[in-house]
């Protein structure tokens, strides 16, 4: 286990810590602050792997777009504090998610990939991927974004 891997594990441990705190806090706005911490730690983990371009876009979209949206929506909705669930539902939720990640983790562990990779982002080749053969992907995302504009504005808007 190399030194880079150790730093990556520290970054991902911060991600897990912040995400756990974001789930467990009682107030929605405080959990959004922990979400910002999670984004920062996630960007650090991505930079550690070497994909700095992806970390850049990740921070732009998440911390600049999604987070602002969630803050505004949580200010417009009631209640501002989390509502407790009963213990049985929480227990079943923990069992289901633990089973799912145990299944995924077992398959990944038993598959024995043991590569060690080193990498740095090349935005020129990312652009040549997206704009040459995956051009239809950008078109599809654009059409989906247009439908979200119509749909979200209609659903959240006022009735005349």
């Amino acid at each position: 286990m190399t030194f880079d891997t150790t730093i990556y594990i520290i970054a991902v441990a911060l991600v897990i810590l912040f995400s756990y705190l974001a789930i467990r806090t009682k107030s929605i706005l405080i959990s959004l602050i922990y979400l910002v911490g999670m984004y920062a730690a996630g960007a650090w983990a991505l930079i550690q792997v070497g994909a700095w371009f992806l970390a850049l876009i990740y921070l732009f979209v998440n911390a600049g777009g999604v987070l602002v949206l969630i803050i505004f929506a949580s200010m417009l909705t009631r209640p501002a504090r989390d509502i407790p669930t009963n213990r049985r539902i929480t227990f079943y939720g923990i069992i289901t998610s633990t089973l799912l990640i145990a299944l995924i983790g077992y398959y990944m562990y038993a598959s024995n990939i043991n590569y060690v990779a080193s990498y740095s982002s090349n935005y020129y080749s990312i652009a040549s991927f997206i704009f040459s053969y995956y051009f239809i992907g950008i078109i599809v995302v654009a059409i989906a974004a247009l439908s979200i504009y119509f749909g979200a504005i209609y659903v959240a808007g006022e009735e005349k």
């Binding site: 990944m108 990939i113 239809i136 992907g137 059409i143 989906a144 439908s147 979200i148 119509f150």
Partner: protein, 476 residues
């Protein structure tokens, strides 16, 4: 160097999705001026253009390739296009402008446009983007009724399960990309035999779970009952035909395409057999005790997903019938929900009593309703009978597990006749004593579609061979 795409080929082959996109913009602008009739006519024109395009491309003898094999338009994709467009036609004709306001038409056209792109894509990334992009407008479409609480409950359940499906699909693509180095179908199907089998199986299981949520296979079907009941009935027409057909065809595309070498040897086969078995048995039994018309039709659409999922177990021998089954299912299910809309409006509760006296007062509507229900049940001489007959026969001829599955499907189809016939019996009984039911005044297009569906469901029985599809082509 960056390769430039061939622009005129692109616009010509992808004419149907693009024309739907452009018309949705025009319809949105026209809707701003509140000219709903013009908007509806423009939507019909765009759907008709898409249908004509797909029928025209059927006359080509070879498949059409775009983007170096990332998009392939072959006969399988074109027949599924026709089934998707039929669902959208019926959904559009059952919308009225006083209940569904101006944003429903562009959202419908956009969702259909992305569903068309999803079927012709031969790359996991584009498939994911198009399937998610086709589902996103339907979240907004189901939430149309802003005042009725049950519609909102349907939206919340639909949203939560849809997000779960997105998560699983995204993780599946990540694992497959990490294992094989590419998401293109051609490269995946070449590299799977020599690669790390466990990771590929994991990715495939995650993708199948996600698509199973979307096409309402049974342990993952619980969102569909409340969503189909709570959504406005015109939108239920669209959801139960186009979204379900999209889910089933994408699973069929993946099974016969990139992952065809994978499932014969591993636990995926057992998972798919279990899904097919549960989806055959559970909805038919649960539908016997329903008392609400929309819930009954929702359970029946889940049961039909079960019949379609017989194909997943032996895809190479049985996929030829999938196109025909999808077209007949789409016509019959759309007509049944459309008649529910005509009789009970867009609301969530429609008891059987509203059907009483239908044959006496509106014979055309009752006739179309009965024919569509009999076609769904699989009674001859309607098209559903030929589709089910060919499907069960080809499943039984494929292997020993196939014989037992086809037998169970036949028994369950017989069980389903019972609940369809109950509904038809209500329609033919005398009306309750509150006077004569007046003749419902339908617009011209609804008459046209009802008559067209009666004719099609009888005529298509005798010509199934025009709709036989072959295995989808995945590499140029």
């Amino acid at each position: 160097m960056v390769n430039l795409v061939n622009l005129e080929n692109t616009i010509f082959y992808l004419f149907a999705p693009f024309i739907l996109f452009i018309f949705s913009l025009i319809v949105a602008i026209v809707g701003l001026f509140k000219k709903y009739l013009v908007a509806k006519i423009l939507s019909y024109i765009s759907l008709l253009l898409a249908l004509i395009t797909s029928i025209y491309f059927l006359s080509y003898s070879s498949a059409l390739f775009l983007f170096n094999g990332k998009i392939i338009i072959d006969k399988f994709s074109l027949i599924v296009w026709i089934a998707l467009i039929i669902g959208a036609f019926f959904s559009l004709s059952s919308m009225e402008n006083d209940l569904i306001s101006r944003e429903a038409f562009p959202l419908l056209l956009l969702s259909l446009s992305l569903a068309l792109i999803a079927i012709i894509s031969r790359d996991l990334l584009i498939l994911f983007l198009a399937v998610e992009g086709s589902i996103l407008p339907t979240y907004a479409l189901v939430a149309q009724f802003k005042k009725e609480p049950f519609s909102l409950e349907a939206t919340v359940k639909y949203f939560i399960f849809g997000i779960l499906a997105t998560l699983l699909f995204a993780y599946g693509i990540t694992v497959i990309f990490g294992n094989l180095g590419s998401t293109s179908f051609a490269i995946i199907s070449d590299k799977i035999p020599n690669s790390n089998l466990l990771l590929s199986v994991l990715g495939f299981i995650l993708i199948i779970l996600s698509l199973g949520i979307k096409s309402t296979l049974v342990p993952l079907h619980t969102w569909a009952i409340d969503t189909y009941q709570g959504a406005p009935t015109s939108i239920t027409v669209f959801l139960s035909t186009t979204s379900k057909i999209l889910g089933i065809s994408v699973i069929a595309l993946l099974i016969t395409g990139p992952f065809s070498g994978l499932y014969k040897f591993t636990t995926i086969y057992y998972i798919l057999v279990a899904f097919a078995l549960l989806t055959l048995v559970v909805p038919n039994i649960a539908a016997l005790i329903q008392r609400d018309l929309k819930r009954l039709l929702a359970y029946s659409s889940i049961a039909h997903a079960g019949y379609m999922s017989l194909i997943f177990v032996f895809p190479f021998q049985t996929i030829y019938i999938l196109g025909y089954y999808l077209i007949t299912y789409s016509i019959a299910k759309s007509v049944s929900f459309m008649v529910v809309k005509i009789i009970s409006g867009e609301g969530s509760y429609s008891s059987y009593d509203s059907l009483r006296g239908l044959f006496k007062s509106n014979p055309l509507i009752a006739f179309a309703f009965s024919i569509s229900l009999l076609s769904l049940a699989g009674i001859p001489p309607f098209a559903g009978f030929m589709a089910k007959f060919l499907l069960f026969l080809s499943t039984a001829l494929s292997s020993s597990v196939g014989i037992s599955l086809a037998l169970i499907a036949l028994i369950m189809s017989g069980v389903s006749v019972y609940y369809y016939v109950i509904v038809i019996r209500f329609a033919s009984s005398k009306s309750l004593g509150n006077g004569n039911e007046k003749l419902l005044n339908l617009s011209f297009e609804k008459y046209l579609f009802l008559i067209l569906s009666i004719v099609l469901l009888i005529v298509l029985t005798f010509f199934p061979n025009y709709f036989f599809v072959s295995i989808p082509i995945i590499s140029p």
